[in-house]
Amino acid sequence: MIIVVSLLIILMLISAIAALIYKDLISAVIAACMVSLIAAVLFYFLQAPDVAMAEASIGAALVTAIFVIAIRRTRRHEE
């Protein structure tokens, strides 16, 4: 159990750093979506299913979609 949680946290950190480093903004948004998704799984492991559902539906689905729509309107690559 503790190994799974630690692996998830390490994966979450890697995705968060990747979201900062990527110059392609679509990739950065997908990495941020991954952070939200892993956070939802961790909330579930911490026995907070209500928060996990909110995080998965808002953080991983809607916010990602809104960011992608905004990027489509502006530039895709960071300078």
Partner: protein, 227 residues
């Protein structure tokens, strides 16, 4: 030079936070209100899910504030995007047959799941906000898969206003009839763990779910159509 100033500021802020936090004992409950909710919440409100009993019953006024914040955010987005012209004549790229059929198949199922989440908010994990977000993601799927469908904006606004009105009216009835405070539980709590229980909690959660769902759908509609 700027980096050095940033690092110094960061160290000062960290020092302040550590100074503030190290006096708080971790793991020791300092307030009795949490224990009270866990012990008495089920009998007092009749909701099997203690989180729901706190969110809607004990802290119902805060929930009204959250719904209002979301409403203001949606209005602000609409006001900002109203300057853009609607690109009605843009050539819409239609999705392939497989994607279209898949979206048509999945849309009612996701809608049903969202409705289940907020109707059963007092029994199972979840509630109005989660169910509303799931309903909005179903509409997002329609926007991505079946472009060119005309979205009923007026119906969305009417649903949103009516559900907000239901929330306020239930609170005002509680003010006059029940425990004489705003959003008091004036209906019978009934048998615990059944669908028709917990008094006003299911009604308010259905109102919140419809309100959040229609608001987020309006946000997605604004973004997809005007940008």
């Amino acid at each position: 030079m700027r980096k050095i100033i940033g690092i110094i500021l960061l160290i000062i802020i960290c020092w302040g936070i550590i100074l503030a936090l190290h006096k708080i004992p971790f793991g020791i409950p300092k307030t009795k209100v949490g224990e009270y909710y866990i012990d008495k919440g089920r009998e007092e409100t009749g909701a099997a899910n203690i989180v729901t009993s706190v969110v809607v019953n004990y802290r119902g006024f805060d929930t009204l504030g959250e719904v209002t914040i979301l409403f203001l955010a949606a209005i602000g987005l609409g006001a900002v995007l109203s300057n853009f012209k609607e690109k009605g004549k843009r050539k819409i790229e239609l999705a392939s047959l497989i994607l279209k059929t898949g979206c048509r198949f999945l849309f009612p199922l996701i809608l049903l799941f969202g409705a289940y989440i907020f109707i059963h908010g007092h029994l199972t994990p979840g509630g109005g906000f989660q169910g509303g977000a799931i309903i909005a993601s179903a509409f997002l799927l329609v926007y991505l898969g079946c472009r060119g469908r005309i979205f009923n904006e007026v119906g969305c606004k009417i649903t949103e206003s009516l559900s907000g009105l239901v929330f306020i009216v239930m609170g005002l009835i509680g003010l006059t009839v029940g425990g004489h405070y705003f959003l008091s539980n004036f209906m019978l709590t009934g048998q615990i763990n059944t669908l028709f229980s917990a008094g006003i909690i299911p009604i308010i959660y259905i109102a919140i779910g419809l309100k959040v769902g229609s608001e987020l759908t309006g946000v997605i509609d604004n973004l997809m159509e005007k940008s």
